[in-house]
């Protein structure tokens, strides 16, 4: 027998269930008057610096059916590559940018929409620049542990080609699942496939 390490175990995850919107976006789910607004509904205001973009997408299950009960969150750097976080030590991020967004998806189609800015480049652990990217986190009924993935940009091909995380993915044929299509000026589409053909890459980070 050796000494004990005295580490606790992380609380095990449980599915967000079908009613996650009651807790996280109550106004969206018709419970008004408790909170003035749903958290994460706006990342930017009219003073936010950077290139405005809109990101849309849906989350599909293994049968190709879009989820209508998911909760999608994003986390990203500001236009200069700084995070508005207490753990950001490289400088102060744009005070008019929250970096964090949350969408319950459209009631009928499940489509999420984020109005944000294009993120700047953030260093990898070894200091090399990562390509601009947005972290996604998806929870829903039937998802036992929240799923982390990343969205990269189709129009950043050079940066994507030298991105240290993308480069280490063994099955390069899957990398396109992480790359949002440009559908117009400042408009991107990023669909997430939980299972089956074109299954999105999810990360254990």
């Amino acid at each position: 027998m050796a000494q004990k390490l005295d580490l606790l175990k992380e609380s095990p995850s449980q599915t967000a269930g079908p009613y996650v919107h009651i807790g996280c976006t109550p106004n969206f789910s018709g419970i008004s008057g408790v909170y003035p607004e749903d958290l994460g509904s706006a990342l930017v205001n009219d003073k936010t610096k950077g290139e405005r973009i809109t990101v849309r997408g849906q989350v599909f299950d293994g049968t190709g059916t879009p989820l209508k009960d998911a909760l999608i969150e994003i986390w990203q750097a500001d236009a200069t590559g700084l995070y508005p976080s207490r753990n950001e030590t490289r400088g102060k991020a744009d005070p008019n940018f929250t970096g964090w967004g949350r969408s319950p998806g459209d009631m009928e189609t499940g489509e999420f929409v984020f109005e944000t800015v294009k993120p700047g480049r953030v260093p990898f652990a070894d200091g090399r620049a990562q390509a601009p990217h947005i972290t996604f986190w998806v929870v829903a009924r039937g998802i036992n542990v929240g799923l982390h993935t990343r969205m990269y940009f189709e129009d950043e091909a050079d940066a994507n080609a030298e991105d240290p995380l993308l480069a280490r993915i063994e099955h390069q044929v899957r990398v396109p699942t992480l790359i949002a299509q440009k559908t117009g000026t400042g408009e991107y589409r990023f669909d997430i496939r939980l299972q089956g053909e074109g299954e999105t890459i999810f990360f254990d980070i």
Binding site: P12, S13, T15, Y35, G62, P123, F124, W137, Q195, I205
Partner: protein
């Protein structure tokens, strides 16, 4: 930035995927078509995971942590067994996690959610919305008041019932710590029967989601107390960590 953050600003401990539920859990049927089949790609943390949004205590309303009244008409209250749920948010090293946003949601005392897609015909309580939120104090502590939620039937097998539970969503200080889980109540016989509880591989892990009845913190003639601590991922100290420049 606090001293604690400076001292422990390294990457997060690897998530123990054998302790958490797997993605594919046959007896929880909705997971079957919603579970990735390919392996998760493991990657060391970058700043994108080691940072996370900040929520200030000033965003909270005075009744955000009181589900008895935060949806009730003036002078009225939700119906049900009054309880106080309290505890601490800790990381895996045992340190309290301050300034952690906790959001909770639950069914009413009859087991009914206030939601358009709810199909159980237990009565709605006009004074109960079912959501609350709080931000942990300097030692990671939190507390809220509510009614004990009822168990409810749900479409899975023909006769599945959820044990009484409260859903918890937690932000630590980094997106890598993001967690959603559920709290159960000590002594509930439905816990052992529940396919969602049983997505968790070990009974030891399930036990960590069962809140204990705490008579010492119970308010006499008023509300019973349940203690529920939650553990988020811990992080390494940076002192001996091998990291490149600029990170």
């Amino acid at each position: 930035m606090s001293g604690e953050d400076t001292a422990r600003a390294g990457s997060f401990f690897q998530r123990d995927r054998l302790w958490h539920p797997p993605a594919y859990t046959r007896d929880y049927k909705t997971s079957v078509a919603r579970s990735p089949r390919l392996a998760l790609i493991s990657a060391a943390n970058t700043l994108s995971e080691m940072t996370g949004p900040v929520f200030g205590h000033d965003m909270l309303g005075p009744a955000d942590d009181d589900l008895l009244t935060n949806f009730a008409k003036p002078g009225e209250m939700a119906i049900g067994q009054r309880i106080i749920v309290y505890g601490r948010v800790l990381d895996e090293t045992g340190r309290g996690v301050p300034d952690c946003l906790i959001e909770v949601w639950q069914a009413n005392a009859g087991g009914r959610y206030r939601h358009g897609k709810e199909t159980y015909d237990a009565p709605l309580d006009p004074n109960f919305g079912g959501c609350g939120r709080m931000i942990t104090g300097p030692d990671g502590s939190y507390r809220f008041r509510t009614v004990k939620p009822g168990p409810y039937p749900w479409p899975n097998r023909v006769n599945d019932w959820r044990p009484a539970h409260i859903h918890f969503s937690l932000f630590g200080h980094a997106f890598a710590q993001r967690l959603i889980t559920q709290m159960y109540f000590e002594g509930d016989p439905l816990i052992a029967l529940c396919p969602i509880v049983n997505t968790i591989p070990s009974s030891e892990a399930v036990d960590t989601l069962v809140a204990a009845l705490d008579m010492a913190n119970t308010q006499p003639m008023d509300a019973r107390a349940y203690k529920f601590d939650i553990v988020l991922r811990g992080r390494r100290a940076t002192r001996f960590e091998n990291r490149g420049e600029g990170s």
